[in-house]
């Protein structure tokens, strides 16, 4: 049996969910068969590296659609965590 994340189930349950059509997809959504395709993996990895997935999770957690205010709130929330993350030499 393949596990599906609660986030995915929540989004699935509501079609495009509360996020609206502009909301980014969740990387974990690709966690099933789609991941056999290298391009999907690459895109998902890039979305994780560039925080698009983190923003999608934020929207899902807060149950809000993407907007300037939502993104500003996401930036505020992630600022401290990002600032404490070292970049390697």
């Amino acid at each position: 049996m393949k596990y599906r994340s609660r986030n995915v189930e929540a989004a699935d349950a509501s079609g495009n969910g509360p996020l609206g059509k502009s909301a980014p997809e969740f990387p974990v959504k690709l966690g099933s068969r789609g991941f056999t395709r290298p391009l999907s993996v690459l895109v998902a990895a890039l979305r994780e590296i560039f925080d698009e997935s983190a923003y999608a999770r934020f929207l899902n957690r807060r149950q809000v659609a993407s907007s300037r205010q939502a993104y500003a709130a996401f930036c505020r929330e992630s600022e401290e965590g990002t600032a404490r993350r070292p970049r390697c030499c």
Binding site: R6, V28, G31, Y55, R57, F74, R84, R85, C88
Partner: protein, 679 residues
Amino acid sequence: MPKAFRIAIWLGVAVLGALALGTVALHRGEQINAMWLVVAAVCTYSLGYRFYSKFIATKVLMLDAQRATPAERLEDGRDFVPTHKWVVFGHHFAAIAGPGPLVGPVLAAQFGYLPGTLWILTGAVFGGCVQDFVILLFSVRRDGKSLTEMAREEVGRLGGLVAYVAVISIIVILLGVCALVVVNALKASPWGTFTIAMTIPIALLMGVYLRRLRPGKVLETSTLGFVLVMLAIWGGQWASQTPAVARWFTLGAPALAILIIVYGFAASALPVWLLLAPRDYLSTFVKLGTIALLALGIVALRPTLHMPPLTRFIDGSGPVFAGNVFPFAFITIACGAISGFHSLISSGTTPKLIRRETEARMVGYGAMMAESLVAIMAMIAACVLQPGIYFAINSPAGIVGQAPEAAATAISAWGFPITAAEMHALAQSVGEQTLYNRTGGAPAFAVGMAHIFSHSLGGQALMAIWYHFAIMFEALFILTVLDAGTRVGRFMVQDALGHVWKPLGRTSWYPSILATSALIVGAWGYFLWQGVKDPLGGINSLWPLFGIANQLLATVALCVATTIIVKMGKARYAAVTLLPLIWLVAVTFTASWHKIFDPNPRIGFLSHAGQLASVPGSNIRLIFNDRLDAVVTGTLIVMVGLILIESLVEWARVLSGRKQARVRESPFVTSRFATEEQG
């Protein structure tokens, strides 16, 4: 697949790897193709991953697919998120890939391509990959705890303190030396300085676009930023050829150093997130793209290595940095072989994303292999240059002189012929006034990369564009490391000072922010200034100091790992971390001894200070700097000696039964991913 077929495939990989390594190691007197290095590396990594990492995973760490990871147990959609292994792999690789694997191999190429290449391969397979893998797994089993926390809990209070001091030290020295690399790459280069200056308005524009126009569309914004940066590189050519503009962007090393110090302080103390976050994204975008492009360029061009396998400088008389091949090659190349800094990443964000324990092998061991391959590519980029060009770029004025003819004569006398006219033509072709004395590794790497790119894409006409693309890539990359590192250092100091007086620990209290930012920037700024004023170019003393600090942090990480393995009742397998630990102790302690006490003034800090002191009218500051470097090196060694002793005592107590072996792992919870097929 039938077992016999699999055995045949792996035997084939082993034979091919042996053939490639034999070619790399045994060819003398004729040039070899760079693809031999690539084949040797790929075969070595494949065998290391298939057999050695599997042995560690099954026999030593006993990875358990049934055991829930913190990403699953503590899932909060924010910090703890079960993520697909390839996504975590990409995320982890992006975090560990920095300027180190690009600069270190370029500097170590002064010994020839052989010592550095062998160290990158063996160091990664038996040291760096193992360190990253075990620390990642141990952090996963402890709810994503940091290296410092694990050191305190598993080794002792002293271990925690040493890890903390080692981390702060490495951050300070790293930032100082990284800033020096940027200064040396941009000094007297209006084109490069203009391009980097333009990244500030570009990042601000990206910030506005990201926050106002297309919230959250980071990849799209980064692509836009990349296009603008390419335009800035093109505009840099115009700036460098327009005297009125070029005058503004032609800066000496001291002016650039001051600007970078001011930038570092502003990035740490001021609310400039509109600038920093987009710059960070842009830097990552360019970094990943350039690494991929370089790999493609090397495969497409299959260049010939002009550097011999071994040069005369293995005797320690090298112009790039002084010191024998042992131990200095092994501290010069850190990030491509084994880097203590990686243990911070492996015990940072990554363990909170791992979905299944068994995936720690691919992420920890595998991502370090990819990083090591980047180091091999940097080695190739340096060694495709004619050795005379390589040494002309990387030798400081204090060794070869400032006049082009004098430098060319000195380098030719070493057996690497070069003429002033050839160097002038090369400088013209990359749009620079001169390429002499551009120490630090970045310009040599940029010339090598431009050589590879221009021969496989765009021809000689684009040489200058590719050179400045490479310089922009490295400088942008390093400036991101600089502002992120300053903030991380500031938070660490604030955390510590908060134990002394609570308000100092408040990350939102402005007096504390200003004071701790000034402390961290002042510390690395001092090292930067010291490097700028050093007649030997700064890299000669600072890069070994950085290498020693980085490898000492790896020593701390391997002490923690060995202690945990012993406590797990797996002492018979402790050699997997103990052997790299012993090697690193031998390398770092020997290197430190040489850097402090070697009678050769080009190597030993104290003998250099003594030499300066014996000359009337010498600069007192230079003498003080040498003594300071000696004290810093000595302090680091003493600290690591203490954690070694504490670890040895802990192992002895556990193995003799005087202390009950108790690892502080999180309780076992069955994973709901357990039955999922490996994908």
